[in-house]
């Protein structure tokens, strides 16, 4: 919690975000361009930027919006996309990722942003920031374009842990509630539990147990439990937060992402097909750009690690400046609302014993 000598520059009256400048596919220049974009739009953000000082200094110096809101922390090593998480944990103390998490650990910042290796970031975050009291499995919350007023749904777990039991799923519901409320202003989030259908013969036993646990906590935690939902509800408008284990969540997200990419490619091909269709694509340009922005993964790529002492925003490895800036905006929002503390309080107050679990129609529980 000690203030570093160079901390004032980033921190004076600002909400400070810790940024890992290295390790993304696009390199540090893209990260610096991204934070410059954010600094231009929002003068209340300060940055602690972690990476090779000699590389970062000239990049920052070129951006006038960064002149008075960035502190650089030298870190000689970089976690590559190919590094094995277990190796990074043992040998990664000099990396920019480690350094970026250290700023959250020591209280200089409450939120960290990185475009680096997801597995390494998750493992390192869990090791260095540690789980919140009572949390067994941290989760990654991922945004997905949907029909909802806020334009997307939140899914968790997006792949932090391949397993989740009923209690974990219940905690995911609590974490998702806090996240939707503090990150995106959804006052009373609607929570859905992912399943394959509502017929009596379907569904795994841990899901039935999770159903009861989540129901029992809906009132106290002030969310709406809409019950079981299906894959099609991820882009739908029946709920705001979808709960599932990290294996299923990861497969669903990647299938959706791949399908969206395929359609975009086929659409481009369709418009190149004939002179008439090429003319049409010119006329439709602004409409298509609007559509692209709406479903662009870069706009919604802020996967967020929940359940730790501090919050970590994982941006796509291939994020460009727009993507980095979107991740920083989300990080700022979460830091400003004191999300981490609220989440911790929420989890601590949850009712866990399954014996007391009742349906949501039961009015007796608080």
């Amino acid at each position: 919690m000690t203030a570093h000598p160079d901390h004032n520059k980033a921190g004076a009256g600002r909400t400070v975000i810790s940024v890992d400048a290295m390790g993304g596919d696009m390199g540090p220049a893209t990260v610096v361009a991204g934070i410059a974009k954010s600094a231009r739009k929002n003068p209340r953000i300060g940055f602690i930027l972690h990476g090779r000082k000699a590389e970062l200094e000239p990049l920052v110096a070129k951006r006038k919006y960064l002149s008075d809101c960035v502190v650089i922390r030298d870190a000689p090593d970089v976690v590559s996309m190919e590094d094995k998480p277990s190796h990074v944990i043992r040998h990664g103390k000099d990396t920019s990722m480690w350094s970026a998490l250290e700023s959250v650990r020591n209280g200089e910042a409450t939120v960290c942003v990185s475009c680096g290796n997801t597995g390494a970031l998750m493992m390192m975050s869990t090791l260095r920031l540690r789980r919140l009291p009572g949390i067994y499995r941290p989760a990654i919350a991922v945004m997905w374009p949907s029909r909802n007023p806020q334009g997307f749904n939140v899914l968790l777990d997006g792949g932090a842990d391949i397993r989740a039991d009923a209690k974990d799923l219940m905690q995911y519901a609590l974490m998702g509630t806090s996240y939707a409320r503090n990150g995106f202003g959804v006052v009373r989030p609607r929570i859905g539990l992912l399943n394959v259908g509502t017929e009596e013969h379907k569904g795994r036993s841990e899901l039935k147990e999770a159903y009861d646990l989540i129901s029992a906590n809906a009132r106290t935690a002030d969310f709406d439990f809409v019950g079981f939902v299906e894959g099609r509800d991820l882009p739908g408008d029946t709920c705001d937060v979808i709960i599932t284990d990290g294996f299923t969540g990861n497969v669903a997200l990647k299938t959706g992402e791949g399908t969206a990419t395929l359609i975009a490619e086929l659409l481009r091909e369709a418009f190149k097909y004939s002179p008439l269709s090429r003319l049409a694509s010119l006329l439709a340009y602004t409409s298509l750009q609007r559509l692209k922005k709406r479903i662009d993964p870069r706009q919604v790529n802020g996967g967020v690690f929940l359940g730790l002492n501090g919050t970590v925003v994982k941006s796509h490895g291939a994020a460009d400046a727009t993507g980095v800036s979107a991740a920083v905006r989300l990080a700022f929002q979460l830091a400003e609302t004191g999300f981490s503390e609220k989440l911790a309080a929420r989890v601590a107050s949850a009712s866990l014993p399954t014996q007391d679990a009742d349906t949501e129609e039961d009015g007796g529980k608080i």
Copy 2:
């Protein structure tokens, strides 16, 4: 195996498909329109049509292409979408679905087509047709638009059973191989096993075991095992057949479907936005229709039940005439190639003992 008196009309020199005319959301008129479409394109198909004779006769009489290739089997009851599978099994003997499966059971046809209640159809198919010798869990194989030359990938299981152990997944690989080869002419299918990533800390233990089992059978069964794949490979071109349990498969398919629908809706809205974009949509009409056809779920909606004595093609409940006709085309192809028998032979010859399972580099196995 006895020839029915009215069987000749459908069967004379034709490949006979058994069709459940009732139970789809669109009613029997749509099913009859669909088979008429198929009959017009392919004079070598014969149909045994199951449902209320009084309703079906006038519908068939209106279609000239159906005049000499349809036999109607009266069945007074209909399985509705709301009926619970367990109820249908006990009380469904007079339904068109039961009757349609009966034609496969008694050898009049080798493939059955239905648009009805999936759960009931699956349960009834398993009960009446019974599993192939050695098969523990039948599976639903579903087609999904992809970058592959054939235009789609096959995923199984799409939701027949929420669980699958290593041996089931290996049998899915064998069934998927036979299906891709006989249904779509993919001579040496590339098989992928769905997982969340290739990093060492990821993946469930049954998937690692399945990996070894599938590897061990690749040579004998003459498929290419490409190893673990991810959700994004479902619409991709890294493999032709993707293997997973029915829970994960169902969630992935419905997420992809929902995402495609969302994009289509947003695209429509984008083109309505301004006079210029409306003009553009007129000019682009044929291009967009081409795209629509390419990714239209009606073109690829033939979910097929594999692993039974006989094959059942499940069409979307909401399938229109085009969808029904696509399902009939697939059924015809599977019937003509003697798919069921080949699948049975394939499964019987598989090497099962896990102790012998070796990596694909091992040249000792046949």
